[in-house]
Amino acid sequence: MNRIDTTFRNLAKEQKKALIGFISAGDPDYDTSLEILKTACTSGLDIIELGVPFSDPTCDGPVIQRASQRALKSGASLTSTIRLAADLRKVTETPIVVFSYYNPIFKYGLENLARDALKAGIDGLLVVDLPPEEAQPLSLALEETNIHIIRLAAPTTTSARLAKLVDGAGGFLYLISRLGVTGTGGLDFESIRSHAAQVRASCPLPVCLGFGISTGADARLLASCADGIIVGSAFEKIIEANLSHPGLPELVAELVEEFRDSLDSINSEPVGEGGSSGGLDKPGQ
């Protein structure tokens, strides 16, 4: 069974929300990045999103743009990201989702990627600029693996389109919490809650909220309406502010713990059962 599915199943049992952390692979360098990831996993991250640095990250705000640039400067690439995943896999069973723009993947070769990702112990692939209409080649390449394709849905996604998005997708649905690119702040909790409820009502996958969640308080306010929350820029901000700090991994870990505590402290509805098998028990159903 895919580690992502296992994770959601376990979280459901424990009536806990998933904490998903985005970390730019290779920022500020390979070794530090690996340490950050390891420490994050042991501090309470449920799923790692490993960002493949790209020269033209059009869906990202300034924080992740800069993280991407630093990683590129340190020599990072999809190849080194896969190696990082493999190295991480040696010490943890935390699910790893590779988060990328399509071009690095396309250039790497979809077949190559499927083979190498599988070998590295990668569990999911989230290609931020690859809508389902363009995804057939990738789906075909991943067919023989049990790697999930993770899809994003936006506040502007219609329910008709949601069905299309979820078709062929697995793991969880990444529900973008606001219009705009990645980055912290700008959340309208009321409308996020109502949209999330709508999406969860028709989505067979766990629904996790991301974009703009920057504090434990945000996480607490939103966790109840989703199966998990995704934090990215908040981690990258800590990294950026402490690039040459010897205790950088610990600083990230502290933030992981803060989010973890916030999530665990809430009195939430039970999350549905994870897994690509679908058919979850949803609140309100």
Partner: protein, 403 residues
């Protein structure tokens, strides 16, 4: 054997030109693109829209632009006859205006209040600011900080036209970063903002829509050359950055027995790292919403492009060109900075026309072809713009090369 028609065949319903094109964007933009696609589909068959577009082209953009036999240049070369399609005489000095007139009208129909655009050298930014002023819309132009410094006159133009110029210092602070930033902005503001892309690139429906707005170049030229030369040209030549002037000229001739050459910017040379030849020196990939040929490294990271011509200085090319290359309908040649500057000088000296450096690439290609073709052949070149904006650049180049 009847040849299959190319015209009207591409793109398919999902915006693909063969394997190219499509819609490689974040999910948040999908709704905006669908809204645009629908609005454009309606407008493009609405007689009122068509009338407004034609009317604006005539009265505002100063169309039709003439075709002009370059008699002295032809004599100097001693081969095929060179005709120029004079887009340099259009309002704002380049073919770019055709497209922004179309998109501006569409934006108004869609009830948008604001136009945004990316710009490198500032040409498309000026064109967008122009149309925003004409239509009384707000306007913000994204421009790399590097480019803002290099292109001060165009920055001033945009400001005089009432646009805000938003400096972009992410990445390398140049065109592709400005486009990145415009897309990011649009993701958040598409409800009341229309994103005016300046060439036949970007996600569906932009490549098709911009081509259709630019085909006026070829529609006019075809009629004009038949009238004045009495027959179709043997060869069409255009410079290709994103590819809008080239496809604009070529498209109406697609099923005619005319050769076509698009000239990419080879900068310091295709064998160097400093060029902008996506087809001759790149490989397929996805960027800014479309699958096409790109300048990139083995890891799929996009290369900075280089050309003396700021308008060709983009690491991609429109997806329709990618297809035209693969199927062999259009030949993709290239011209170096040196060849472009030489062609620039020739047009100045032999015809009294100062061409845009972009267009000088087309001329370089045409001159080469004319020399090896008989005198009774006709070459029609898209003189996509005027070179007033390039004087300083050319001077700097000439000074550095002791010409």
């Amino acid at each position: 054997m009847t040849k299959q028609k190319i015209i009207d065949k591409y793109p398919d319903a999902t915006g693909h030109f063969g394997v190219y094109g499509g819609r490689y964007v974040g999910e948040t933009l999908i709704a905006a693109l669908e809204e645009l696609e629908e609005a454009y589909a309606k407008a493009s068959v609405d007689p009122e829209f068509i009338f407004e577009f034609r009317n604006m082209l005539e009265h505002y953009a100063a169309r039709p632009t003439p075709i002009d036999f370059a008699e002295r240049l032809t004599k100097h070369i001693g081969g095929a006859k060179i005709y120029l399609k004079r887009e340099d005489c259009a309002h704002t000095g380049a073919h770019k205006i055709n497209n922004v007139v179309g998109q501006g009208l569409l934006a108004m129909r869609m009830g948008k209040k604001k136009l945004i655009a990316e710009t490198g050298a500032g040409q498309h930014g000026v064109a967008t600011a122009t149309i925003a002023a004409r239509f009384g819309m707000e306007c913000e132009i994204f421009m790399g900080t590097e480019d803002i410094e290099r292109q001060a006159p165009n920055v001033l133009r945009m400001k005089l036209l009432g646009a805000r110029v938003i400096p972009v210092d992410s990445g390398t602070g140049t065109l592709k970063d400005a486009m990145n930033e415009a897309m990011r902005y649009w993701v958040g503001e598409s409800a009341d903002t229309y994103y005016v892309i300046g060439t036949v690139s970007g996600p569906h429906p932009y490549p098709e829509m911009v081509r259709n707005f630019q085909r006026i170049i070829g529609d006019e030229a075809r009629e004009q050359i038949l009238k004045y030369a009495g027959r179709l040209p043997d060869l069409l030549v255009a410079a290709v950055g994103g590819g809008s002037n080239a496809i604009g000229l070529f498209y109406p001739f697609m099923d005619d027995p005319c050769e076509m050459i698009a000239v990419e910017a080879a900068g310091d040379g295709l064998d160097t790292a400093r060029h902008a030849a996506s087809i001759n020196g790149g490989s397929p990939g996805s960027l800014h919403g479309a699958m096409t040929y790109l300048l990139q490294d083995d890891n799929g990271q996009i290369h900075e492009a280089w050309s003396i011509s700021a308008g060709l200085d983009y690491p991609g090319i429109g997806p329709e060109h990618a297809l035209m290359h693969d199927i062999g309908r259009v030949k993709y040649a290239s011209a170096t900075d040196a060849q472009a500057v030489e062609a620039f000088s020739k047009l100045c000296k032999y015809e009294g026309i100062i061409p845009a450096l972009e267009s000088a690439h087309a001329l370089a290609g045409a001159i080469e072809e004319a020399a090896r073709r008989p005198k009774d052949e006709i070459i029609l070149v898209c003189l996509s713009g005027r070179g007033d904006k390039d004087l300083e650049n050319v001077k700097r180049y000439m000074d550095a090369h002791h010409e």
